[in-house]
Symmetry: C2
Subunit: 346 residues, 2 copies
């Protein structure tokens, strides 16, 4: 059976005050579509498996928000992390849990807060990857066909095509590049953006962690005893915080030699910056992108405004600015300075 | 006995959203001092008469706000105008009402939303004017010693000094001037800003209106029958809205020949523009003036920020802007364009 693991523990500090530690980006209707990022993510995967096979790993404090935003999700499918320990422990917890229930599970792991424009193509590609991982020791990481020399993403160097499939070997992973390097990647043609979406069967991921992160795996074995019992919460609270903070990329992806990629060309964005959000939204003739019903612009150019809850917003004379209002919190900042928002908010 | 009439019916649309039709400027803590404009106005006059002699004329809808902000004011001293009819009917209503109770009253009429920095000097000057009007047919309008060639105020051309007093005859009133004219006024030395503060005894003002606005005076005579009876509200609601919309300047001041002025040099401002508010507030090294506890500026210059209720405001890269937040309403506008705020808000 297919299972989907949605990682929803981020705190989204780059998007303050649209995203706050109390209500981070994955739970926000970032695009003004009427749906939050996590709701769109669940919808995107819904045809691939029954809702009982969708799992959300998140911080304990966000559990009520997940319940509220995903009322159809069985509440036992919400896995609260007692502490933030990066992606490897988060993914391991979900996969050990799934394995105890379904030892033949075929799993997709995805962030909660990315955007996909062509949902049908996305499902086709993910379905293809799932077919490939249903048996055998294979890990697929989804590679996005790059459309610009983006320096904000990691890259996958794709190698040879696996015969009779649309999959390719992964030659290597590359960190976020400098602009000139990103341009070379784009020109080379075999570099893909790393979307952080992984596909594997439950045997492969648990065995991989056992091989490359044995300490993490044995902690999971310990926790696993308690899964689906009254002891689970207490045991997880005790053991999970002792896991090393380590990303799945570092723990497994960069070490195993059975990593493959499938090229996705379905309008993907991690919506990681205001600049990327600006490109995703419709614009007026002056290049302003607005989320919010009650926003009135005068002599403004190239601005992005996010104020869906404001009762009235009147702006005049602003250029290339980010303007965000949420619950009495206000940010105005030049788009060119958005990297500093994290610091401003400290 | 001295009486004070505070006119508090304005809607303050130039200051949206700090000032809104539901809660206009006179009821707002504009300067962040912890006191609203009308509270500061009452305090300023408090030593001149008992609180029972202070009267507030305002729109019916603002009566609850006046009660809340001036809990010591007898509630029968709040005179609700059933309709806005400019200053002459407003002042006439209050003066006819006072006259019925105290035919020898000596009266100061003042706007609710001006600022005075040197309150002691203000009281000295007003006391002087009251001494002058306690008997005889004399109207005093307070003239402010101008400190700049302001084009936003009307001017008083002062004439000869009245012997043994600090009062001067008023030669004429002048409309808001062009800048070059305002400069001439400033250079001439005998021009004063018209603060809209009037001093007269009750006989003088009622007789003056009888002479120069006989229709208004006879409506007041009609209304007066009902004052201090159960019929008052009904009668005022019936007659007051039929009064002509006319200012006291046009109805009396520009017609009578017994108009005097007293020069005030006590740090006065009508706080009529964001620019004037900016000059009244303290500034940081970059010329920013801030009202609000939770405002954080980065690379901002010459801005005025008013967001006392916001839980957090972070600004970056703004120059010479007005930034105002109140109850989910937000205005950002270049200071140079503040005259357009009224239009933006429509």
């Amino acid at each position: 059976m297919n299972h989907i693991v949605i990682m929803a523990g981020g705190i989204g500090s780059r998007f303050w005050p649209m995203s706050t530690p109390e209500y981070p980006k994955q739970f926000v209707d970032v695009l003004g579509t009427g749906k939050t990022m996590i709701q769109m993510t669940v919808e995107r995967f819904a045809p691939l498996c029954p809702i009982e096979n969708i799992w959300v790993v998140t911080s304990r404090e966000y559990v009520p928000i997940v319940r509220e935003q995903l009322p159809d999700l069985p509440s036992e499918n919400i896995l609260p992390e007692p502490a933030m320990r990066n992606t490897a422990p988060c993914i391991a917890y979900a996969c050990w849990k799934i394995r105890k229930q379904d030892p033949y599970a075929n799993v997709v792991v995805t962030p909660a807060d990315a955007l996909v424009l062509d949902v049908n193509e996305f499902r086709r590609v993910i379905g293809h990857a799932l077919d490939f991982t249903v048996s055998g020791k294979r890990i697929v990481t989804v590679g996005i066909k790059p459309t610009r020399p983006e320096t904000g993403y990691g890259y996958i160097a794709a190698g040879k095509i696996v015969e009779e499939t649309q999959l390719m070997n992964v030659d290597s992973f590359r960190e976020k590049p400098a602009l000139d390097v990103a341009k070379e990647y784009l020109a080379a043609g075999n570099y893909l953006w790393n979307a952080g979406i992984f596909v594997w069967n439950i045997d492969t991921i648990t065995e991989s962690l056992r091989t490359y992160s044995p300490s993490l795996a044995s902690k999971m074995d310990l926790m696993s005893e308690s899964f689906y019992t009254a002891e689970e919460e207490r045991t997880v609270a005790e053991i999970f915080p002792t896991c090393e903070k380590i990303s799945i990329d570092y723990a497994v992806m960069e070490k195993a030699d059975y990593i493959y990629t499938v090229k996705g060309d379905f309008g993907w964005s991690d919506v990681g910056t205001w600049g990327s959000l600006w490109t995703l939204l419709p614009h007026d003739a002056d290049g302003n992108a607005v989320v919010g019903e009650n926003v009135h612009l005068n002599d403004c150019k190239g601005c992005i405004v996010h104020a869906p809850g404001a009762s009235s917003v009147v702006l005049q004379g602003l250029e290339d600015c980010i303007i965000v209002e949420r619950d009495g919190r206000l940010l105005i900042c030049k788009l060119s300075e958005e990297q500093r928002i994290k610091d401003f908010v400290k």
